[in-house]
C-alpha cells in the first residue's frame, strides 16, 4: 500500500514539475512576441503613405442604343439602326408619356418611371444623346449625370459608396475599385429593382422550422415553385 501511495505522489510531483516548466516556457515565448509586434508598424507605414494610387472606376454604359430591325434582307441578314435614323425626320411629340399612345414604334415597351414625358430624358434635337433639364445634351455614356438631377440623394450616397454595388479594393493604395452605374441595376424605363428568387440556403439548426406557422409558410412557398 505505501508503495502505491509513494508512486502516486511521484506522479503528482512529475505533473506539477511539468506544469511549472510549461508555464516558464510560455512566459518566455510571450516576452518575445512584443518585440515582433513593435517592429511590424514601421514596415507597412510606407504603404499607407502611397495613398489613393488606384482609381475608382465607374463602369460606363455602352453608347446610344441601336434598334434591331424586324425584317431580313434577301440574304437573310438583319440590321440595326441608330435612333436618329427615324427620329431625325420625324416631328418630336413632346407631350407623349407612354408607348401605349404611340402607333408605330416602341410598341409593348413598359414604362413605369414616374409621371414624366419621353423627352424629359431623351433629346428631341439630338436623338443619339440624352437631354438634361436645362436642355443641354448629354451622351448616353454619361447617363449618371442625367439620373442625378432628380435622384441627388442616391447620387450623394453613391459618391460615398453607400449606394450601388462594387468590387475590387477597399484600400485604393493597393488596387482599384470598380462600381456599377445607375442602369447596371435599374432599367431606366422601369427603374424599380426587380424581385428575386432565393436560391442558396444553409442547412443549419436555425433553418429548422421552429413553429407550425413557419412550417406552413415554408411549404406554401415551396408549392409556388
Amino acid at each position: 500500500m505505501p508503495r502505491i501511495a509513494s508512486l502516486f505522489f511521484a506522479v503528482l510531483l512529475c505533473l506539477f514539475a511539468s506544469m511549472a516548466l510549461a508555464a516558464l516556457w510560455q512566459s518566455g515565448m510571450r516576452a518575445n512576441t512584443p518585440t515582433n509586434g513593435a517592429a511590424e508598424p514601421q514596415v507597412s507605414q510606407a504603404s499607407v503613405h502611397s495613398n489613393e494610387a488606384h482609381p475608382v472606376i465607374i463602369r460606363k454604359p455602352s453608347g446610344p442604343p441601336r434598334i434591331e430591325l424586324a425584317g431580313h434582307d434577301p440574304q437573310g441578314r438583319t440590321a440595326s439602326v441608330a435612333c436618329s435614323t427615324c427620329h431625325s425626320v420625324r416631328q418630336a411629340n413632346l407631350e407623349n408619356k407612354t408607348a401605349a399612345t404611340l402607333d408605330e414604334f416602341h410598341q409593348g415597351m413598359t414604362f413605369n418611371h414616374g409621371n414624366i414625358t419621353c423627352y424629359a430624358c431623351h433629346n428631341p434635337n439630338e436623338s443619339d444623346a440624352l437631354r438634361l433639364a436645362d436642355g443641354s445634351s448629354v451622351a448616353y455614356e454619361n447617363v449618371m449625370t442625367l439620373c442625378s438631377q432628380c435622384h441627388s440623394k442616391q447620387a450623394e450616397s453613391f459618391a460615398h459608396g453607400a449606394h450601388g454595388g462594387m468590387n475590387g479594393h477597399w484600400d485604393l493604395s493597393r488596387g482599384p475599385q470598380m462600381k456599377n452605374n445607375c442602369i447596371d441595376c435599374h432599367v431606366p424605363h422601369v427603374p424599380k429593382y426587380p424581385k428575386m428568387i432565393v436560391g442558396f440556403k444553409p442547412k443549419d439548426r436555425f433553418n429548422e422550422p421552429s413553429t407550425a406557422e413557419h412550417q406552413q409558410e415554408g411549404t406554401a412557398a415551396h408549392d409556388e415553385h
Partner: protein, 321 residues
Amino acid sequence: MTNTEPSNSQQAKSSVKRSLPIVENFTRRAVVKGGFATLGAAAFVAAVSPLRQAAKSTTAVEFMQQHYTELSPEQKADVIARLEAETKEKYGADVTIADDRPIPGTKFVYAINLSVCNGNGKCVEACHKENNHDRSTNQSYIRVIEMPKGTMDMEKGSTTYSGIVPKDDKFYLPVQCQQCDEPPCVDVCPVKATWKEEDGIVVVDYNWCIGCRYCEAACPYHARRFNWKQPEVPAEEINPDQSYLSNRVRPVGVVEKCTYCLHRTRRGKLPACLEACPTGARVFGNILDKNSNIRWILENKRVYILKEELGTKPAFFYYFD
C-alpha cells in the same frame, strides 16, 4: 484441494487448522480495494480513449503545436507547410495558406443598408464558396433573417423563407459576426483559442480550439459555427487563396466564424459577401480613415446597432435611407 499458494501467510494459517478452503485468503477490505482499483483503471481507460482516437487523426507534430500567437516565424512556416500538405493529401487541392497580419492603422467596420437588402441570399452563397465551407450542409457565416416590419428583435424573424423576395410585409436582416469590441465569445473561451486582433477582427486558432462551444453559446448574434464533421469540398471547388486564421479548410470539431474575409481585406480587397451583393446594400471600410465610406455613413445615415443594449459594441452597423 487443501494445497493453496504458500506465499500467503494467512493461507498458511488456515491450512494448519484444516478448515474448509474458503476465501479467507482475501480479506473483505482487499476485495473492496481491488474492486475499486479495477473500476478506477477502467474509468481511466474510458477517459483517455478519445485521446487514443485522436491519435489516429492527429499527428504528434500537430498535437504539440503551440498557440498561434506564440509561434515563431519559423514555426509558423512549418505549420503552414504542414497544413498545405494536409489539404493536398485530404482534398487533392493545391492551396496557399498565408499568414495575413492586420494592416497598421486600420479598424474594419461593416455596414448594411436595410432599406435596400432584399434577402436574395447571394452573400450567403458567396461566403460558402469563399470560405471553403462544407458542401453537404451549405454552411455559411451569414444568416439572412426575414423580419416582420416594425421590430428589430432578431428572434422574431425566420431564416426559412424561400421563393420570391422581397415580400411586402417583411424586411431582411443579414446577420454575421459583428466583430464586437467587447466580444463575449472571447471572454468565455477557456483556452484563449479566440481573440481580437488590432484591426478589430475576432479570430480563432482552429488548431488550438478544443471545441467546447462555449463561444457559440455566448454569442448573442448566433454568429459562430461548429464543425460537426470534416468539411467535404470537391478539389476543384476549393478556394486556394487561404489564410491561417481565415478560410483554410477547418478541422472537424472546432468552432469557426466570419473573419470579414481577412485573407482578402488585409490585402486591401473587399469581402466576398460585399462583392456578391447584387443590391449594393453592403459597405465595408476602415473607420480610422476620415474619408472612408463607412465614416460618411455613420455621420449621415440613420444607423442601428443590433442588440446594442448588451454592450457588445459591434463593429457592424445597419442603416436606413
